[in-house]
Symmetry: C2
DNA sequence: GTTGGCGCTTTCGAATTACGAAACGTCTGA
DNA sequence: TCAGACGTTTCGTAATTCGAAAGCGCCAAC
């Protein structure tokens, strides 16, 4: 919890965070206790926030976030540039893992590589050209996007692409791919074990925006001999959350 | 500008509004002057808001809305029920105009009536059944939705429906309809002069949400003999803005 | 029906907190 | 190089927020 020059604003911010952190509306007492405030102080601050529309009260008088936040949220400048926000995070990740880090977005039935951070600590490394593309079903990042698809969406993808094999490891059976994608999404990371290119493996985590939809993915690509998902996943997920948060995703704040 | 029990929060809210009202980032001095604050006060408050992410600064130090608002905006409970929010506004409108007020949403190539407020001051009145449907091109509300369509979208609508005539007044020429729809959207209201049913005319205004897209429309339907658009439009637009604002649209706040 | 208790709201004197004048720093353009 | 404007920091002052306590209003239990 950050501390600033103005006490009331710190307290108001804390209260808003507490309300946001709950999935339901919250009674005064709970907010006061959790924020460490005297009930009358919490009341006064919440009343003020209410008159400005940052907070609303339901029939029972419990507090929830107000529409004003919806209005202001919609006005946040889209100076939110995925690549600019991603670069420092990717570079930090590269310096921890000493492998190539990629940032990808989805475009139709393909993923597109939009940014990368390569390490110079390795003689042998995997390098994707920025702008290059790959089908969803052969990449770790693509599995995350597919995991978010509806059954119909998944089926039409399978139909349109035929789930062409790129290597002997490519998953070409629709039902196997489907369950793999769903499992990946639930685990919040996906793996590609030489499914796109022999000898190359990959781990990916999702990047979400304020709407909680996946808008991109961060992945690490390396020769299979150095593939260490257990080690990488926590680092990747931390980076993914940090970038997501910068894009407006509400989760653990960095 | 509302006044609450806490001065700092009032001032912070004013500053956030000023930043939101501008399309670009804003320098301190402008904010201080417009908010009627001493520069050092504005600075202190903005610094506090910045540490909490409600405000960000660009390279030149100018202020803009922060990502926190995006996060919190995404967490506002979708307790935003179009119909519930609309009802009191529609009833007030009915009591001003003494005519039937309708609330409609788009569903594919049709509009659907989802709520209405009927007056008992009139022997003869127009009544739409809730749940009933009509093609876009014969209704005032539909023209607003069509006005927001891309050229391709409009063309495929024209192709799919054939712009069937319902009355001799129905606009069936695609180019005439297209320009009528665009004109309506620009004017922020649309008119239907017996284009759906002989003897019945209609005026509609758009309802937008935080994304600024049209999500619904409010309209007044009456026998053509009582049709007085010049009189109705200001009332309708005020109601439309008020409802839009409740849905998170940023505009003139009620 | 009455009473007790709990949570919310309001009041009000105290002192902490935010205020703003002024001094300081920094950048830009003349 | 200097002038001026804008942003930042400092600091004494007093206005402002704080929080204890009392007052409501509601529900549940007796």
């Amino acid at each position: 919890m950050p501390k600033s020059a103005i006490q009331v604003i710190d307290r108001a911010a804390t209260l808003l965070d507490l309300i946001a952190a709950s999935d339901k509306s919250v009674p005064l007492k709970v907010l006061a206790i959790d924020a460490g405030l005297h009930p009358s102080s919490a009341f006064r601050i919440l009343a003020s926030l209410t008159t400005h529309g940052y907070v609303e009260r339901d029939e029972a008088g419990r507090y929830q976030l107000g529409r004003k936040l919806l209005q202001l949220g919609g006005r946040v400048q889209a100076h939110v540039s995925l690549r600019e926000d991603a670069r420092p995070i990717m570079e930090a990740l590269r310096d921890s893992l000493h492998e190539t880090i990629n940032l990808t977005v989805r475009d139709g039935n393909e993923v597109v590589y939009v940014e990368r951070a390569i390490t110079n600590k390795r003689m042998m490394r995997v390098e994707q050209v920025i702008g290059s593309r790959a089908p969803l079903h052969v990449t770790a990042v693509g599995k995350l996007f597919l995991g978010e698809e509806s059954d119909q969406g998944f089926e039409s993808y399978a139909r349109e692409t035929g789930l062409t094999a790129f290597t002997p490891h490519t998953i070409t059976r629709a039902d196997a791919l489907r369950s793999e994608c769903i499992k990946s999404l639930e685990a919040e990371y996906a793996v590609d074990s030489e499914e796109a290119e022999p000898g190359v493996s990959c781990v990916a985590v999702p990047v979400r925006d304020h709407s909680r939809r996946i808008v991109a993915a961060i992945s690490v690509s390396a020769p299979t001999s150095r593939h260490e998902p257990e080690d990488w996943v926590p680092h990747l997920q931390k980076a993914g959350l940090e970038l997501s948060s910068r894009l407006g995703y509400y989760g653990v704040n960095p």
